[in-house]
C-alpha cells in the first residue's frame, strides 16, 4: 500500500482546492469553501491510511470538499438562504468527470486566485495575508509567525481582504484578460514581497524563511508558465528568486548566525538553482523592458558566478546598481553602489558617492547606513568617525545575529584597509 504524499501535499492541495472550488461556486463563498476544503483534507487524513490513497487524490478531495460545501449550503438553505443554494449548486450539473477538469485547469485556477488576492481594492498587507491563507494553505497562527505579527492582526487583515472581495460589483467578474495584464505588476509586487519576507526577515527561523521563499518561487513559476503573465519582468523576478535562494544555506553558520557574502563557503551554493536562475535571467532579456527585477537579478547573478569575493565583477555590479537607482530610485541602492565602488576603486571613492547625500531618516537611522559608513571610514583611515558610526550601527542592529555579525565585521575593517 503506498501512502507517501508530497512534502507539502496538504498545504498545496488546500490552495488548489480553494482556487478551483471558489471559482466554481463564487468568491462570495470563500470562507465556506475554505471550511469545506479543510474538512475534506481531514477526511483524507482519517481514511487514506486506513484504506488506500485514491489513484487521483486531487479528484477525491475535490469531490469530498464539494459535497461538504453543498451540504453546508443546504443546511443554510433550510435556514432561509435558498437562492444561494441554487446559485452555487447549478454549475455542478455538468460535472461528470472532475478528474479531467482538475488535470487541465488547476493551474489556471491557482493563477486566477493569485490575481484575486492582488485586487487593487485590498490593502497590500491584506493581499499578502490572503495569498498565504488561500494559496499557500497556512493558517492564521502560521501566517502570524511568518509575517512576524499577531494572530489578531492576521485576522484583521484577512477580514479586510474578504470584505473587499464581497463588495459589489462582484470582484470575480473583474478577472478578465485585460485585468490580468494591468494587475500583473501588483501580483509581481506581492510575490516579491512574499519572497523578501522570507529572504530578508531578521526574525523568523531558517526553515520558516526558506519555506516562504519556496512558496514565492512556486507561485512565480505559475506566472512564468502562463501566456498572460509570462513577461520579461516575471522571468527576471523568478531569476532573482532562484539566484538568492541558491545562496541561502551558506548565509548561515551552524549556530544560525549570519555569514557575510565575502566569508561564505561558495561550494555550499546550490548550483542547480543558480543554473535555473541564469536560465530565467537569459529569458528575461527578451524584449525592450528593463525592470528593477532585471537589475536585482543581474546583481545576484554576478555574485553567483564570481569564483570568489575578490574576483567579483564589481564593475558590472556597480552598473546594475546604477540601473536599479534609475528604475527604482532609493538611497539604499546608492548605498549598495558605494559598497561595490569601494571594492573596485577603494573606500575613498565609495565615500565620495555618499557625500552630499541627505539620507531619509528610515535609512540614516538604520544599522545599514551606519555600518557601511563605519566600514568605509575605517578602511579610509578615519578612525574617529568610523568608531562613532560603529557604535550607532551596533545600537540600531535589529537582531542579535545582525549585531553579532556587525561586531565581527566592523572590528576587522581596519585590517582590510587599502
Amino acid at each position: 500500500m503506498t501512502t507517501s504524499l508530497g512534502e507539502h501535499f496538504f498545504r498545496h492541495e488546500f490552495g488548489r482546492l480553494v482556487a478551483t472550488l471558489s471559482r466554481r461556486v463564487g468568491l462570495r463563498h470563500l470562507e465556506a469553501v475554505e471550511d469545506a476544503v479543510q474538512e475534506a483534507l481531514l477526511a483524507a487524513v482519517d481514511s487514506w491510511p486506513k484504506t488506500v490513497v485514491p489513484d487521483n487524490p486531487s479528484a477525491w478531495l475535490y469531490r469530498v470538499a464539494h459535497n461538504r460545501f453543498v451540504g453546508e449550503l443546504r443546511r443554510q438553505a433550510r435556514r432561509g438562504a435558498l437562492d444561494e443554494l441554487h446559485a452555487a449548486a447549478e454549475p455542478e450539473a455538468d460535472e461528470s468527470a472532475p478528474e479531467l477538469r482538475l488535470a487541465g485547469d488547476v493551474r489556471d485556477d491557482l493563477l486566477r486566485m493569485l490575481f484575486v488576492c492582488c485586487d487593487e481594492a485590498i490593502p497590500i498587507e491584506s493581499q499578502l495575508a490572503l495569498a498565504l491563507k488561500t494559496l499557500c494553505g497556512f493558517d492564521v497562527r502560521e501566517i502570524a509567525a511568518r509575517l512576524f505579527t499577531t494572530e489578531a492582526n492576521v485576522y484583521k487583515r484577512l477580514g479586510r481582504a474578504r470584505s473587499c472581495l464581497r463588495e459589489p460589483p462582484l470582484r470575480e467578474a473583474d478577472v478578465t484578460t485585460d485585468r490580468l495584464t494591468t494587475r500583473l505588476p501588483v501580483v509581481q509586487g506581492v510575490l516579491y514581497l512574499l519572497f523578501t519576507e522570507g529572504y530578508l526577515s531578521v526574525h523568523a527561523e531558517t526553515a520558516i524563511r526558506r519555506e516562504l521563499c519556496d512558496e514565492a518561487r512556486r507561485l512565480t513559476t505559475l506566472l512564468a508558465e502562463h501566456p498572460v503573465s509570462a513577461t520579461p519582468e516575471t522571468f527576471a523576478l523568478l531569476a532573482l528568486m532562484h539566484l538568492h535562494t541558491a545562496r541561502m544555506a551558506a548565509r548561515q553558520d551552524v549556530a544560525g548566525g549570519l555569514v557575510l557574502l565575502e566569508d561564505q563557503d561558495r561550494s555550499r551554493w546550490d548550483q542547480t538553482l543558480i543554473h535555473e536562475g541564469l536560465h530565467w535571467l537569459a529569458r528575461s532579456a527578451a524584449g525592450a523592458t528593463f525592470s528593477r527585477f532585471h537589475a536585482e537579478a543581474g546583481i545576484a547573478a554576478e555574485h553567483c558566478v564570481a569564483p570568489s569575493f575578490a574576483e567579483t565583477r564589481w564593475d558590472r555590479v556597480i552598473e546594475c546598481y546604477a540601473l536599479l537607482e534609475r528604475v527604482a530610485p532609493s538611497p539604499l541602492h546608492l548605498l549598495n553602489r558605494a559598497v561595490a565602488t569601494a571594492e573596485l576603486h577603494g573606500p575613498a571613492q565609495g565615500l565620495a558617492l555618499l557625500e552630499g547625500i541627505d539620507p531619509p531618516t528610515w535609512l540614516s537611522g538604520s544599522y545599514m547606513w551606519s555600518a557601511v559608513l563605519a566600514d568605509l571610514h575605517r578602511r579610509a583611515g578615519n578612525d574617529a568617525v568610523a568608531e562613532s558610526y560603529r557604535r550607532t550601527a551596533l545600537e540600531t542592529a535589529p537582531s542579535a545575529s545582525i549585531r553579532e555579525v556587525l561586531t565581527r565585521r566592523l572590528a576587522r575593517a581596519g585590517a582590510r584597509s587599502r
Partner: protein
C-alpha cells in the same frame, strides 16, 4: 492471538477540539499515523473506521429505562490482536490522536469459542 475491539469514545467532560488543524499539521498527523501503522503492523487486524448514526433495535415491548444515543459516545472502532489486554491497550494508546483530552479508547477482548 486474542483479538480486541477498540472503541473510540468521546468524553463528555472533554472539550471538543477547538482548534482545527492546519494543512501543515494534517501533513504531520498523516505521517504520524502511518508511522504508528507500520510499527504495529502485526497487531492491526482491522483499522475500522468512524461510526455514524445508529439506532438500537429493541425487542417488543421496549423495556423501560434510558437508552443511550450510540453516536454521541462511540466515534470509531478498530480491531487489534495482542497477547494480553495490556498489550492491546498499549497499541491503541500509541495511536496518534486517539487518547487525548476529550477522547478515550475502550479496549474489549473478543472471546473466541473454546
Amino acid at each position: 492471538m486474542p483479538k480486541f475491539l477498540c472503541l473510540q469514545r468521546s468524553l463528555p467532560s472533554g472539550r471538543d477540539d477547538a482548534e482545527k488543524p492546519s494543512p501543515a499539521q494534517m501533513q504531520a498527523m498523516y505521517a504520524k499515523f502511518n508511522e504508528w501503522r507500520e510499527t504495529f503492523q502485526a497487531n492491526l487486524v482491522d483499522l475500522g473506521g468512524r461510526l455514524g448514526k445508529g439506532k438500537v433495535a429493541l425487542p417488543e415491548p421496549a423495556p423501560d429505562g434510558p437508552l443511550v444515543e450510540i453516536k454521541e459516545l462511540v466515534g470509531g472502532y478498530m480491531i487489534v490482536s495482542a497477547t494480553t489486554l495490556d498489550e492491546a491497550i498499549a497499541v491503541a494508546r500509541a495511536c496518534p490522536g486517539l487518547v487525548r483530552p476529550g477522547s478515550a479508547v475502550e479496549v474489549i477482548e473478543i472471546q473466541s469459542p473454546g
